[in-house]
Every structure is written in structure tokens, then in C-alpha cells.
Amino acid sequence: MAGSVPGQFRFRYRCPRGSIPDPPPLRFPPPQRKVARKPAPRDHRRPVRRRPRLRAAGQWRRAAAGPGPRPFRPCHVTATRQAGRSPAMLSQIFILSSKGDRLIHKDFRGETCGTSTDLADTFYRRITSLPGDQAPVFMAHEGWHFVHVRHAGLYFVATTTPDASPFTLVEFLNRLVTLLRDFCGPLSEKNVSLNFALIYELLDEMLDYGYIQTTAPEVLRNFMHTEPVATKPFSLLDLGSIGLFGAETQQSRVAPSSAASRPVLPPRGEQGTRNEVFVDVVERLTVVIAANGTPMKVDVQGEIRLKCYLPSCVEMRIGLTEEFCVGKSELRAPFSAPPGYGTAVRVDECAFHSSVKLDEFESGRILKVTPSQGEYQLADDIPSPLPFRLFPTVDQDPTGRLRLYLKLRCDLPPKSQALNVRLQLPVPKGVSSLAQELSSPEQTAELQPSTKSIRWDIPRCQGGSQLSALFKLEVPGLSRASLLELGPANLAFELPAHTCSGLHIRFVRLPGPAGPPQRWVRYLTHSDSYVLRF
């Protein structure tokens, strides 16, 4: 196997302006791994006179031994089962399609044979008939607990015991999804069932007897022998990949996040010929704008994802925007403009994957990465203006109809544009009909009876432009109170080649004699939730 399987990095940055304070001053002195040395400063208001007397591995002596032939066995104190009980253990894993078909089913421990019903079916029945007030992520059934995550319309389910750590379980399932995406390409029902042998093999290496062994792709790769089966790209005729809620899958298909994470999976044979690196900067905007136009909450979370198809693992250098500062630290460049202006990017928090070396980060904002699975998180604050403002006017015309005049202003720079803009505006429940006047013919608007809202679709919107729409609503029995039901508007959009934070990749450098690989850098911002109050 010559090439390297796409390793994925995620560099996430998150959190809005100033909301997370600097981490509290260290009360514990920095961790010491081995044996130690000087007396520690006072911490925890407790005098710590000596450092850990922990010996290096191999030196510890045998415990107070049990009698006779069990030299290393410590005495058992019976019936002292304390807080920490059985370790995280997954009894079964199954992947179900949105229709409940069992795509993958692996039983690691054979413990559930005795139960009367099939757990996969039970799970599906439960999840589809769950009352609205209960969260479906964890469900209990006859002493077993289901944990599931949903991706691309598929359910990834594990059964476990109540002592297991929920964070570990969810994180593991998410990691499983990422790995499947890396190994078999974009997830779909079809893809999973085509690659079932590979997935069984993967699960077999990842888990033994229900215990997580490893999830590192570079380790797993050494033990994987089955080749992935590539699926054809999505076509409308291929109904198998449409989820339970057709619209939802459609949406996730066009959603920018998935576009950016699309694994560029070459068939094995071609791998030698491709020598590429993809860097995606993806940001998610969570914004609430008050009726008077002041931003109530602005939250940008970003990720830098790295995906590389390189014949060998070399260290790669990625340069970020120079004026990039973390937390409340001062800007590095002495001449740079105060925060909030200019090109500086301020970030509240960032986290890097353990494989990222940061020795040049302080001096040159350079990340050194050895390609492997990873993610790191940053946090962000946006100096640039928010991309959209909405100016609504509501009045009643003489015939008693509700007139709704919406003006949507796009504050992006003129060269940028927003795609797939969709405005969703709840209207009074009693509304019976809608008349509309839109500013251009490519836009559409309709009244959706199921959600009692107007949906206004704008395929593209150039920076600096202004769009308007006039809606006339027939509302029988209109009262002042029912105006409360108007709004807030929610906007969904994607901004290609634009980051709200202003974070840019300056360069991606790879050493090596072989000709420089293709390097691709993509930027993308999309709205996670962009709410405009009335």
C-alpha cells in the first residue's frame, strides 16, 4: 500500500468575543510526569512538602501479597465497589439506515443472545416512536442502554452498560463516523452496504470484546486489508441515498460543511499519481441580531481541516494570518491596528491536536503538522461587519391585510457573494393566503403550511447589494397579539471563499525532493443559526 489514506485534521476555533475568560490562574503547579524535584509552591492552600513519590515504571514493588502462589496479586477488599465501576464497554455496534435496515451489526460480547427481542429492531422502534420531550441520544431498554449518533441519515448505535462514560461513547461514535468517511468515502446507505467487509474489518481492529483498542488511522491502516469500494456520485435517480426526510439529506448534501469535508477518495490504483493536500477553513456562524440591529450574540466557530494524499508522512508547515492572537494577549505585531480594525484576527480559544507542533506558533504563527488524524480548536471573534442585516416594516393595508416589507442588505465586500440564501419567517398561525412581490425573478417565496412560515429563497446575493420583498398576508381575525407570532427570521446561507474571522492561510509548505504536491486551500463560512429579531 503505497499511498497514505486520507488523514483528516480538524483545527477548530470557537467561542465568541470575550465570553470565556482567560483560564483561571493555575492553582495546581504544572504537571510533573515523573519523579520529582524541588518543593512545590503552595497550592490548594495546602502545604505540599514533597513532590510525588511516584517511581518510574517497573520499579514499583509487588503489593502486599496474597498468600501462597499469587505473588503479584493484591489483597482483595471485598464488597468495596466504589464510584468507578466497569470500564467503558460497548456490547454491540450497529449501523441502521434511515428506514431501519440493518447495514452493519456486530456483537462483541455475545451477551444479548438471551434477550427476547432483537436489539436493532427494538432500537429502531423506540427511536421512531419517541415522545417529543425525551432526548433520543441515550435510551434504556431492559438494562441495556443505546447510544447513537446520526450522520447522513444513518444511525450509528452502540449498546452499553449504565456505568459507561457518555462522553467517551459519543466521542467514539463520532470518531467511528470520521474514520468510515476517511476509509470509504462520503457516507451513505449505499456506500456503507457496499463497503461492509471493510467496515467489519475496521470494527474488528478498533474494538475487541467491546473495549476500544485504537482509533488512530495510521495504526489501523497497517491492519486493514480490504479495499474500499467507491460509489458513484449522487444522482437523483439513486433514491437509496435519500433519507427519511428527503429534504434533510438534500440539505446536508448542499451544505457547505459536508462539501468541504468531502473525502477525495481515489481508487487505490490511482493513488500514486495523485499528490495533493487540501486545507479547508470552515467557519460556522451563530448570530442573534436584536430588532434594533445590535448584535446580541455573535459566535464564530471555525475549523481548519487538513486532508492529504501524500506518499509518505512528512512534516508540513502551515502559516496562518500573522496578526493572529489568542485570548486577551496583546497583538504580536507592534504596528498593527487595535483589535476590531484592520486585518487582525483575535481568537478566544484555540485547541490543537496533539500531533501539531507549536514551536513556531508564537513567533511566526506557523503550525507544523505531521499528517495524521487530528483536530484542534480555536476560538474566534469577528471584526468584520456581519454579512446580513434585515429591515422589516409591518403594517396593515386598508383591506385589513398584513403588509410585510422586508429589505435584506448584504454587507459583504462587493467581490464576495452569498449562495443559497434562505430566509425563514414565522407568521401568525391564522394566515390563509400570501401575495408576494420580489425584487428579482430568480428568487422564490412560498408559504409553508406545516411550519406556518414564509420561505424566501435567494440563489445568490452579491456583496453590497440590497434585496427587497413585499408580502401581503390574509389573516382572518388579526389582532395585535398575533403580531407577536411574527418572527424572528432565520437566515441560512453559505459564503464561499470568505471567512468572517479574516483568518487566512498564508502558505502550506512541504519539504521534499519530489515535485511540489498540489496544494488546495478553500475557505467557507456557513450559517449555523443566523437569527434576526423583529
Binding site: 503489593a63 462514560s165 470484546y209 414565522p426 437569527v531
Partner: protein, 739 residues
């Protein structure tokens, strides 16, 4: 899904597998095996192909070996005789030069799950444990656990256990973690793997080599280690400090739990840790993965239970996003309710108000109840907001608002007038049972302040025949009798009609009995009725108990990072109810008890307080007045039934305790003043069978625990346990209030 041909397909597959041409061609052979697996995965019975498949596993192709092992493991329980065929090949593979094949063979052999396999397993396992490839050792270690599980009740082999304990020193970190897991399973009966000092220190030193899963698991195992000295404890905490900042939430949470449990006697350390973990938790709350987000939110709620102000400055993080699923929005609203304070109340209410008009009925009602909860502290603003919502005339909104009002009036009597002004006009919009009950209760209890109350109730009486819900009829009866007491002239006629209907025509027995009950009660004269029905209409002290959610960290530290916070207290109690664990002692749920008392009192027809829904057997009778002399005499004559100590910190507030005890009908005989050292109190209570419970509370100076001694007049262990659990709850509540 392809068509499952059954017999025909099976024969076809067998022919393909047995075909020598196919066997000669690696890829074709593999494809045939693959087809068998595919059939198996889809649920077809392919056990008939066992001999052919075993033969296929002898091929050199590793992929094929893997596929066959998958098949063999799945089919072995159905074909125990034939499975022995596979064992031979697998044993041969255990000596294969490639570690991958050795490991695979060992793993499949241990995974066969059929009786009698153990004797074949022992030798390969033991050599596997000493294999030079870590991949094989990993499989072998877990293989030991699998083998011993197959053996069932047999005596655990001491030599093997020792071998595993010594493998804890292995170079490979995954082998180390697997050893812990295997030992935990093997020694389950003896209480699991023992973490003594050398092992704990060894594990701590190896932490850095582990991956995130290993780290979080080892941190979980370390929970059962108790450091010998304070010094050691803090050394460990210092050593583990870095893991509180790990990029993996599972490691952070496992570390947090370990800190909370280890530092159980150092509240300031616990508080510190919870501050440090705020950042990682918040970033998990805004994670892209909904499931992770949900898990984190549940844990945020758990922390808020102990430290109400903890996340207040980050309240905006908990505003709902448009695209989030319901269960996340509901969790976020709950969190918002709990972190509201003077600074953010305006913004939080504004935000919640936006959710009240949501398309989803559940979400809208949830938001209204959330505002109702906040109203207990910020009454005026919230009542205004809720009244405004009534103007919408939406069925589900009005119903939820009226329910919120009912709960509110009970706890905050000062808002009664505002609520009564808002009520007229609601009756037209309410259709559901819960909403009707709430409205009728309000009209009955506070009818003198609502001018048109009798006319609204009259409408209900007119339509009682078509009323679907018996609960509404019962509520109507109670309300009308109450209103009759304050406005007799307007009510007498319709009360008569209602009683007539209930007694003569009603089919539901409970309603009929209730009707008869009121009829006879009325016969005994107005004075008696007044005495029975005119109970207090509000009880802020109950609110005091209910509002208090401040539980000490130690009560939930051991549940942190398990599924318990994820399900929430009530549902968790339900889920674990059928397990024979004596869980009553840890924390009977305060909430449900209060709800019980509330509804019982509000109906005003039962004087006996059912104290605890779970124990059920214990009902304490109010108004048992023991004099101090009687108490002393009984106290001295009885033997000690039970002695326990309750955690207690801070000072004592006798008034709070007395109020709290009174609510559950425990009488205070005598009590020291606040601040007296040592502090003492004597309590008595009697249940419905006449059994007396005498209690002494004793708090020594500077002792973190309150000593409780209980004496019982009759030996009833069941009742005693129930009583102690009640006492525990009440004292826990009072302790939280005081501090």
C-alpha cells in the same frame, strides 16, 4: 436488499466455495467468501456452509482469513461440533510468523463462545501473553477474560491472574489498559481489579503514553484508589492537572470526576476544578455534534444543581439556535432557568419569550413553564410576560400559561391578584385536561377575586356530561365546593346540579365517590366543611424546599460522567428501579415528593401526607403532639434502632430545619438555639400504624457530620428505612438552604 434465495442460494454458494478453480484464484475465492458474509449480514441462515468456510480459512490470504473468522465467530454457537474443525486451523495460525495473523487467530478462537473450547485455548493464550508482538498480547489479554467468562462459575486460576497483574508493566500501553479491563471482568465477584498504591503510581506514570480512550479508562480505574495521605492526594492531583485541559472531552470529564471524587473532603478544590472545567464543557456545548452537545448540557445542569451561579456569565451560550433539534432546545431552556440572575434576567426572559410562539407545541409550552419557573424569583416581570401571551388566544399557549399560574400562585402568594386579573377570558381557549384542571383549581381557590368565576364554572357544569376526563370532573367538584363557601348565593344551584349528576349519572367510580363524599360533608354543616376545605391557599415554605436544588457536590460526584446525569434524576430513578440495589439511601428525589404533597393539599380532601412515593409504605400522621415528658420517657425506655451520620457543613438554622421537618410531619420536641455548641435537637413522628419514631440530632463543634440516632417503638425495619430516607432528604434540603 437483494432477494434471499434460501436453499437455492446456499447451494450455489457451496458450489462456488468447493470449486477448485475458484479456490485457485485468490480474488474469486475471496469474492465467494464475501458473498457468504453478505448473506449472513442480511440475516440468512448460512450455517450449512461451515465446513467449506473453515476450509477457506486455511488459505494464505489475510483478508479471507478475516472474513472467515467473522463467519466462524458468528456461527459457532449454532454448530458447536463443526466449530471444532475451525479450532485446528486457528491453532495452526497461532504459530504463524505474522503477528497480524497470530493476533487474529487468537481473537477469533477466544471469540468462539462454545462450551468445551477452553481446553484448546489455554496453551495458545499463555504463549500469546508472552508473545513478542504487542498486537498478539493485546488479543491474548482480553482473550483471558473471554475464556474465563465461558468457564462460568469455575474457580479463577490464580496463576493467570498473577500473570495479568504482572503484564500491567507491559511496554505497550494498550496491553496495560486491556489488562485492567480483563482483570476487572475476571475478578468481578471479588469486587474487580484492586488498585493499590504501587499499581496506582505505576498507572499514573504511564498516563502520558496512553491514547485518549486509554487515558479516560485509566482515570476511571483510578477512582477506586484512595490515597493514604493528604500529601499523596495532592501529588496525584498535581500530576493529573494537565488532563483537565485535554482536547478530548472524554478525558477532561474522566479527569474531572477523578478530581471531584478524590478531593471529596476539600470543597475548595472541587470548586476550583469545576471552574477549570467550564471552558471545555462550554465548548462541548457548542460542538458541531448534537449528541456531544446534549451530553455536555446534561452535565452542565448537574453542576448547576450545586453551584447555581456557575455559568451565569455565559448565559448566551445557552440560547437556542434555530436549527437545533428539540431535545437540545429543551435542555438549554432548563439550563437558562437555572442560571438566571439579576444581571441577565432581562435578556433570558426576552429570549424565552421568543420561543413561546414556536411552531412546536412542546417547545412553546416548555418555554412557558420555564418562564413560570423563573417567576418564582422574578415574579412581576414574568407574570406580565405570561399575561401578554394569553392575548394570543392559542390553545396550547393559554393552557400552559394557566398551568404555570397555578404552580406560581401556590408558591408566590403575592402575585395572586395579578393572576386573577388575567384569568377572565381564558376558558374559551383551553381544551386539554391539564389546562382545564389548572383553570378550575385557580377559580375554586381564588374565586372571590375573579368576578365571573361562578359563571365560568357554571359553563363547565353545563357541559359536564360531555367532559372526557374524570380528573377534570373531580377538580370541578372540589373547586365548586370551595367557591360555594365564599360565594354561596351564586353557586348553590349549580353545586346541587353537579352533585346530582355526579352521584346519579356518573359512571366513573372515583368521581362518584368524590361526589358522595362532598355531599355527606356538606350535610354535616358549613362549619365542618370550612374546617376541612379552607386549608391555606399557598405555602411559600414549600417553595423554599422545592427551589432549593443546591446539593453538595459529593452527592453526585460519583455519578458524574455516567449515564445518570444524561437521563436526569427522575428517569434515572425509574430506569434503575427494577435493579435490586438499595438505592433509597443515596438520594430520594425531593422533587417528586413535593409534587405529591402539593397535589394532595391542593385537592384539599386528604389530611394524610403521603411522604414518599417510592417507599409507599410509610405515611406519617400530622398533629401527633408528644409532650417533652412523654418523649423523654419513651426515649429512655427504647433501644437504639439506628445510628447514622449526615454530611453537614456550615451553621445550623433551626427555623429552616423546623419548617422543613414540619412539612413532612415530623414534630420538633426540642432544639438548641443557632450557634450553640454542641447543637442538639429532638424529633418525633408517628406513622399510620402507630409506630413512633424518636430521633436525636447531634452536631459537635467542628464536626463535618451530624450524628443522627433513631429509636422506634416497634421493630419495623421497612418503615425505619423509609423514615430515615425521609429524614435524610429533609435534612439534606435544610442543609443546602442554610449554607
Amino acid at each position: 436488499m437483494p432477494y434471499l434465495g434460501g436453499e437455492e442460494a446456499l447451494r450455489e454458494l457451496r458450489r462456488a466455495l468447493a470449486n477448485p478453480h475458484v479456490q485457485a484464484d485468490r480474488l474469486r475465492y475471496r469474492a465467494a467468501v464475501l458473498r457468504v458474509i453478505r448473506h449472513m449480514a442480511q440475516g440468512a441462515d448460512v450455517s450449512g456452509l461451515f465446513p467449506e468456510m473453515v476450509k477457506a480459512s486455511a488459505a494464505a490470504d489475510v483478508v479471507q482469513k478475516k472474513l472467515v473468522s467473522l463467519y466462524v465467530r458468528a456461527q459457532a454457537p449454532r454448530q458447536p461440533q463443526l466449530a471444532l474443525l475451525a479450532v485446528n486451523t486457528l491453532r495452526k495460525d497461532c504459530a504463524h510468523p505474522s503477528p497480524a495473523v497470530r493476533g487474529l487467530a487468537l481473537r477469533s478462537m477466544c471469540g468462539l463462545r462454545m462450551p468445551g473450547i477452553q481446553e484448546y485455548l489455554q496453551q495458545p493464550l499463555l504463549s500469546g501473553l508472552r508473545d513478542k508482538a504487542s498486537y498478539v498480547r493485546r488479543a491474548a489479554v482480553l482473550g483471558c477474560a473471554k475464556m474465563l467468562k465461558l468457564q462460568g462459575d469455575c474457580e479463577v486460576d490464580g496463576a493467570l491472574v498473577n500473570e495479568l497483574y504482572s503484564l500491567l508493566r507491559d511496554r505497550d500501553p494498550i496491553v496495560v489498559v486491556n489488562c485492567l479491563r480483563a482483570l476487572e471482568e475476571i475478578l468481578k465477584k471479588e469486587g474487580g481489579v484492586v488498585i493499590n498504591k504501587p499499581i496506582a503510581h505505576h498507572l499514573l506514570n504511564r498516563m502520558a503514553d496512553l491514547d485518549q480512550w486509554g487515558k479516560s479508562e485509566v482515570l476511571t480505574f483510578l477512582l477506586r484508589y484512595r490515597p493514604r495521605s493528604e500529601e499523596e492526594l495532592f501529588d496525584i492531583l498535581n500530576l493529573l492537572d494537565g488532563y483537565l485541559k485535554s482536547s478530548s472531552p472524554s478525558v477532561v470529564m474522566a479527569a474531572t470526576k477523578l478530581f471531584l471524587v478524590l478531593a471529596r473532603e476539600y470543597p475548595h478544590v472541587q470548586a476550583d476544578v469545576l471552574v477549570r472545567v467550564k471552558g471545555p464543557l462550554l465548548s462541548a456545548c457548542t460542538s458541531e455534534s448534537r449528541e456531544l452537545c446534549f451530553t455536555a448540557l446534561c452535565h452542565v445542569r448537574q453542576i448547576l444543581g450545586s453551584l447555581p451561579g456557575h455559568f451565569s456569565s455565559h448565559y448566551k451560550k445557552f440560547f437556542c439556535s434555530y436549527s437545533e433539534p428539540h431535545y437540545i432546545k429543551c435542555q438549554k431552556m432548563e439550563v437558562l432557568c437555572e442560571l438566571v440572575n439579576d444581571e441577565n434576567v432581562q435578556q433570558v426572559l426576552e429570549e424565552l419569550k421568543g420561543y413561546c410562539t414556536d411552531v412546536s407545541v412542546e417547545l412553546a409550552q416548555g418555554a412557558i413553564f420555564a418562564i413560570g419557573n423563573i417567576a418564582r424569583t422574578y415574579t412581576e416581570q414574568c407574570v406580565g410576560l405570561l399575561t401578554e401571551l394569553l392575548g394570543l388566544q392559542q390553545e396550547h399557549i393559554t393552557s400552559a400559561v394557566v398551568q404555570a399560574f397555578r404552580d406560581l400562585v401556590w408558591l408566590c402568594p403575592q402575585c395572586t391578584d395579578a393572576v386573577c386579573r388575567a384569568l377572565p377570558g381564558c376558558e374559551d381557549a383551553i381544551q386539554d385536561s391539564e389546562g382545564k384542571q389548572a383553570l378550575i383549581w385557580l377559580l375554586g381557590a381564588h374565586g372571590e377575586k375573579v368576578p365571573n368565576a361562578p359563571y365560568v364554572l357554571e359553563d363547565f357544569v353545563e357541559n359536564v356530561k360531555s367532559e372526557m376526563f374524570p380528573a377534570v370532573k373531580m377538580e370541578l367538584l372540589t373547586a365548586l365546593v370551595r367557591l360555594f363557601l365564599s360565594r354561596p348565593a351564586e353557586c348553590q344551584d349549580m353545586l346541587g346540579r353537579l352533585l346530582h349528576y355526579c352521584i346519579e349519572e356518573e359512571m366513573d367510580m372515583a368521581v362518584r365517590d368524590r361526589g358522595l363524599f362532598y355531599y355527606r360533608l356538606l350535610q354535616s354543616g358549613v362549619e365542618v366543611v370550612k374546617r376541612v376545605l379552607c386549608s391555606p391557599k399557598s405555602d411559600p415554605s414549600l417553595g423554599l424546599l422545592e427551589d432549593q436544588t443546591e446539593r453538595p457536590v459529593n452527592t453526585w460526584a460519583s455519578e458524574f460522567n455516567t449515564l445518570a446525569p444524561v437521563y436526569g434524576r427522575e428517569r434515572w430513578a425509574l430506569i434503575t428501579a427494577h435493579q435490586p440495589e438499595p438505592s433509597y439511601a443515596c438520594s430520594p428525589c425531593t422533587d417528586s415528593r413535593n409534587r405529591d404533597t402539593e397535589s394532595l393539599i391542593s385537592e384539599g380532601n386528604k389530611e394524610v401526607l403521603k411522604v414518599h412515593p417510592d417507599t409507599g409504605s410509610l405515611t406519617l400522621i400530622p398533629d401527633v403532639y408528644l409532650t417533652a415528658e412523654q418523649f423523654e420517657k419513651s426515649w429512655l425506655s427504647l433501644d437504639m434502632s439506628c445510628h447514622l451520620s449526615l454530611p453537614w457543613c456550615g451553621t445550623v438554622h433551626p427555623d429552616t430545619i423546623q419548617t422543613a421537618l414540619h412539612v413532612v410531619h415530623i414534630q420538633t420536641i426540642a432544639m438548641s438555639k443557632a450557634g450553640v455548641q454542641p447543637w442538639k435537637a429532638y424529633l418525633s413522628a408517628q406513622d399510620d400504624t402507630g409506630c413512633l419514631f424518636l430521633t436525636e440530632l447531634l452536631l459537635e463543634a467542628a464536626d463535618p457530620e451530624m450524628q443522627v440516632s433513631v429509636k422506634q417503638s416497634e421493630a419495623k425495619p421497612e418503615a425505619l428505612r423509609a423514615f430515615i430516607s425521609v429524614l435524610r432528604t429533609v435534612m439534606g434540603a435544610a442543609a443546602g438552604l442554610g449554607s
